[in-house]
Symmetry: C2
Subunit: 321 residues, 2 copies
């Protein structure tokens, strides 16, 4: 595979090259850092929107309507679904799929799901890199969808400029919102399926909790939507855009410098971890592993046999020596 | 500092040497793998008990009573508190502290808190190693206390042979137990402060949820305790011991072999991450970081300057070449 040729096609706007690059990033191919260095100069133009909330809150329908609203403004949109229950990820009922078809045929919309299977904390890193690839391709808006339940999902939301937390009246309990850490990450709250009982009450409860916090440059709004009926979507778009403007106005050069350093250390940590995985998968240390399994070595003795040996360390780090 | 002399004193039963070794492990000194290799042959004798649950459930009082119960059986006991709100960690009201004094004066009891401040996912690893040090010292029982809220705390509980989840009637909502992942990790449920309203109801709800799961060799009991009045403690000790026996009976050589391999890869991953931290803290890459902050380099370019350079990689890996 010729990566420079692939990057050339990607830069020329070839969507198949885009899809292929994302697959390389998702599969954590050893060339990821080199690929990312090539496209990094074009990263940073897109509006990055996070969409999270419990399963069944209607995130996907809302995402669908957001796509349509941004498309109506002439903007191109990409969606990354890290939510295994999302129709974007293929885990949906037929009605959802049919509804998505219209977007699949629109060259201004690119939809991709990411597998959440067994990773060593690398899912947030992979998601960030997929977002970079979509951003550098020239998308005006990139939407990342997760199910808001764990630390990994909160980490992923950290990459968004504006995080929209979607709830439904039945989810009800605002205490659970706090326990799940959603209060801290929300830039905009949406109470979806607002025609149902309890929507106003949930909105009020959220507003009370939000008012207990210290005043800030941005006041987190709580919006009522009925995504299936396309109600409240325009207001949501307005608030997302307004939050983005407030955020940009408060950013300093020091923020950017610090973010670059943090991303650098994350890349290094992730890369070392991946080189370890590749060395283990590549059976570079089979003899050590066999003695360990047999009980002739303990885990620390086995670790030191790798760490104290210059040649083995070189193998572990993958052709660096 | 002479580590072999320290290990000698530790092996001879010197509690100050024990405390010093734990500090070295907690501070992630570069000698940790070598220290752990020395004492690993004596690891594996202790009964490892995890104690978790929400803040205010009375975990510390319960831990206090467990210490007394095991001491009455002539067993030595160590406690590792990873719970920042625990009196073991010093975050307590005066009454709790005074109560703990009796154990502080008992040479058969060793109590230690671990800081939870900023780590790169290394807290679970550090806790496991502190438990190894306490185990190899000869303690019969090691109790690890966490606040059951996040993935890190669940990971820490993974090192226990028997995990006790402590709830109080006010915590009430069994749905929250499920959402926090506590149902999956509990070997024994304790409803503490059982004299309060709702204790029976919570016990019943937990039992209903537990019965929905497939049958297993161990049926998770739901016990009622009043730790402050020392009620229900004997039954709790009995269930902990019974669970330990059931667990041992079902363990195979293959379980042990797999655990050794998993621990080996965790040690390697953690060690690489720490060597990265040391290299960054040691200002080994100051010039790269300065160009990155100034915007003359992007994060990937900066990462590749380290990863593609044999000498820099050697620096990163800490004198391995």
């Amino acid at each position: 595979m010729d990566i420079s040729r692939l990057l050339e096609r990607y830069t020329g706007g070839d969507r198949r090259a885009l899809a292929r690059l994302i697959t390389l990033v998702e599969n954590r191919t050893p060339e990821v850092p080199a690929i990312m260095r090539e496209l990094y100069p074009r990263v940073g133009r897109a509006m990055l929107i996070g969409l999270t909330g419990p399963p069944g809150a209607g995130k996907s329908t809302l995402g669908d309507k957001l796509i349509a609203a941004f498309r109506a403004q002439g903007k191109t949109v990409a969606v990354v679904a890290v939510d295994p229950s999302s129709p974007f990820s293929g885990g949906a009922v037929l009605g959802d799929r049919v509804r998505m078809q219209e977007h699949f045929l629109d060259p201004g919309v690119f939809i991709r799901s990411l597998s959440t299977r067994g990773r060593h904390g690398g899912l947030a890193r992979a998601t960030r890199e997929v977002v970079h690839v979509l951003d550098a391709f020239g998308h005006d808006v990139v939407i990342v969808e997760t199910v808001g339940v764990g630390q990994t999902e909160l980490d992923i939301m950290g990459l968004a400029h504006t995080t929209v937390v979607v709830l439904v009246p039945e989810a009800g309990d605002t205490i659970q919102v706090m326990k799940a850490g959603l209060l801290e990450i929300a830039d905009v709250f949406v109470v979806n399926k607002a025609d149902r009982d309890g929507a106003r009450r949930l909105k009020n409860e959220l507003e009370v909790m939000l008012h207990l916090r210290p005043a800030a440059a941005w006041n987190v709004p709580v919006l009522l939507t009925e995504a299936v009926a396309n109600k409240g979507i325009d207001d949501l778009v307005t608030q997302i855009v307004a939050h983005g403007a407030t955020r940009r106005a408060s950013r300093t050069a020091e923020n950017d410098a610090r973010d670059r350093v943090v991303e650098w250390t994350e890349i290094l940590r992730d890369e070392l971890s991946q080189r370890l995985d590749r060395a283990l998968a590549g059976k570079s240390f089979t003899s050590i592993e066999e003695r360990l399994r047999a009980g002739d070595l303990d885990p620390y003795g086995a670790a030191l046999e790798v760490l104290e040996d210059r040649d083995r360390l070189r193998v572990l780090l993958g052709g660096a020596g």
